[in-house]
């Protein structure tokens, strides 16, 4: 809406009512009604003459924590202060929350009356950001006490950005080792080509000269060969469960599992290529979305765009089932699959099993959307826990991602547990 002073029209019709009262009073010869018209006129005069108070306010924002890790909630406190020398009887502030995040607790707007020099604060929590999110200026509306005239303005507020830090690339997720040939970052307990030292063994005639330990040769005269820990780069495809059945959340205003999965997918797409892994994107959704594995900066940008804007990731219910056969056919042979799904129905679990059966090393990261407030919700929680247990028993690496938990916690736990 435009800035400036506007009449709100709250008392629109008052003059007409006054005229009706006077007219009826005249016809029926009732002086009291003419008096009533007089009251209408007095109030109508106020309606015409009222002036909006000056919007002489400063707005501050405090963001805690200032550098959240991915998946973590951020508390924003918006404080508004009346710098003028007159009381503002009606002050409304709405913070310019970025489109890419969601307010999950509290409200990003505040209504208050402020004496000169007084302050009022509103606190709310946001979640769902994946990188740098910039706040819009806050909208401030001040009105007279009745609310017949309003002054609207936009106030820039500092600090105006929050950056969700994703876990560093190598700390992202311990990938399940796959059979691949390039040196990379998935450690294999096997000596060979690589970057970190593994062992020294006797020289064999066909060993490359670059790996001969010349220091030892100078010292002892024996030829020996240095072996490095073989690490492989993997081809990873991040599959996001974006069916309508996955768009579930513990509360109506909380982030849905699809939103959390998409945020985690962005982090994986950003982080894994730093270790030389090629990352692709796919949607387990009735709408098709596919991005071939790649490592370049351009590729990462395209992946981000795809995750943010493609219809396949919006969980639109359209009654169709995902085309699993087609999706499996597109996956590169033995590609590492990271499957992001709340696992709230058997279809998702069956899909994960089918991926593993097709020879893909599967890592499941499962944002937990369950609640415990009703018996039905508790049952759903138990069923999900059972699904996770069965998948683990089937040999899949399954990581449960609790509500309000930072993604970094999950990855730390994953590394600690060794898988």
């Amino acid at each position: 809406m435009s800035e400036g002073v506007q009449r709100t029209g709250r008392w629109f019709g008052l003059g007409g009512a006054a005229l009706v009262a006077v007219g009826v009073g005249l016809l029926a010869r009732v002086p009291a009604l003419v008096l009533l018209g007089g009251l209408g006129v007095t109030l109508g005069a106020y309606d015409r003459l009222a002036v909006a108070p000056a919007a002489d306010v400063t707005v501050r924002r405090s963001i805690t924590p200032p550098e959240p890790s991915l998946g973590e909630r951020v508390t924003v406190a918006l404080t508004v202060r009346n710098d003028g020398d007159r009381t503002i009887p009606d002050l409304r502030v709405a913070d310019g929350v970025p489109d890419t995040v969601r307010v999950v607790e509290g409200s990003a707007s505040l209504g208050t009356a402020l004496r000169p020099g007084a302050e009022a604060t509103v606190t709310y929590e946001i979640a769902g950001g994946t990188d740098r999110c910039v706040f819009e200026p806050a909208t401030v509306v001040v009105r007279d006490v009745v609310g017949v005239v309003a002054r609207r303005t936009r106030v820039a507020v500092e600090p105006d950005a929050v950056t969700w830090e994703r876990p560093a690339g190598s700390a992202l997720l311990p990938l399940v080792p796959a059979v691949a040939r390039r040196p990379g970052a998935v450690p294999v307990d096997e000596g060979g080509e690589g970057v970190s030292f593994y062992a020294v063994r006797e020289h064999r005639s066909n060993d490359p000269l670059s790996r001969v330990d010349w220091n030892r040769y100078a010292r002892t005269g024996d030829l020996s060969t240095v072996e490095f820990r073989r690490e492989q780069s993997a081809t990873v495809v991040v599959v996001v469960d974006a069916r309508a059945a996955a768009a579930v959340a513990p509360r109506p205003d909380a982030e849905t599992a699809v939103e959390r999965s998409t945020a985690a997918a962005v982090a994986l797409v950003e982080g894994l290529p730093e270790d030389g892994h090629a990352v692709g994107i796919a949607a387990y959704s009735p709408q098709r979305a596919w991005l071939d594995p790649g490592t370049t900066e351009v590729h990462r940008r395209r992946a981000r765009e795809l995750l943010r804007t493609d219809r396949a990731f919006t969980a639109t219910p359209d009654g169709r089932e995902p085309d699993v056969r087609r999706l499996l056919a597109r996956l590169p042979t033995a590609a590492n699959v990271v499957f992001l799904s709340p696992l709230c129905d058997d279809d998702a679990a069956a899909f994960a099993r089918r991926l593993a059966a097709n020879g893909h090393p599967v890592t499941v990261v499962s944002p937990d959307p369950t609640a415990a407030d009703t018996a039905g919700h508790r049952l759903a929680r138990l069923e999900r826990a059972e699904r996770l247990r069965l998948l683990r028993a089937a040999g899949l690496a399954v990581h449960d991602w609790g509500p309000n938990e930072a993604l970094r916690r999950v990855t730390e736990r994953a590394w600690r547990d060794g898988r």
Binding site: T8, R10, W11, G13, L14, G15, A17, A18, L19, V20, A21, V22, V24, G25, L26, A28, R29, V30, P31, A32, L33, V34, L35, L36, G37, G38, L39, G40, V41, T42, L43, G44, A45, Y46, R48, L49, P89, D90, L91, R92, A94, S107, A108, S109, L110, G111, T112, A113, A120, V122, V141, V145, V146, G147, P252, D253
Partner: protein, 160 residues
Amino acid sequence: MTARTGLVCGGAAGLAGVATLFVAGVGTAATAAGVAAVVVLGGGVLVRSGRLVDLAGAALFLEVLVAALQGASATTVLAGGGGTVLAWTFGHAAVDLRDDLGTGPSVTVESAHVAGTTALVGVAVAVTTLLFGVDVPRLPPLALASVVLGAIALTAALRR
């Protein structure tokens, strides 16, 4: 989740509506209009409809008109008129606070609005009564009406 935004204004609107109903409900027709107004007002605030609040305001106004025609005193009519304006204004405030702020905190702004508007309308009622003097009934209605019409023309000319 219970949102309290608009509760103070909505409650004040209901109070003002009920007060008007009791003050101006001097006959069956007036009381019927008043009861309908209070019901519509409550519904309008609950479903956040400005039109229903307008309708409720019109019904309260009708109640006051009918009461005046049935011979209610000038004080009763003025008090009823003031109550009508208050109920209508608070109803609108409750609706647009919910629209503007959602579930944001608003108790202070609502209290300030209720207190300020009540004071303003109270002063307007008092000023109107004083302006027309104590012996209102003896003034010829046409003279009174001329003054009021002149005032309406004057306020219309005040548009900036």
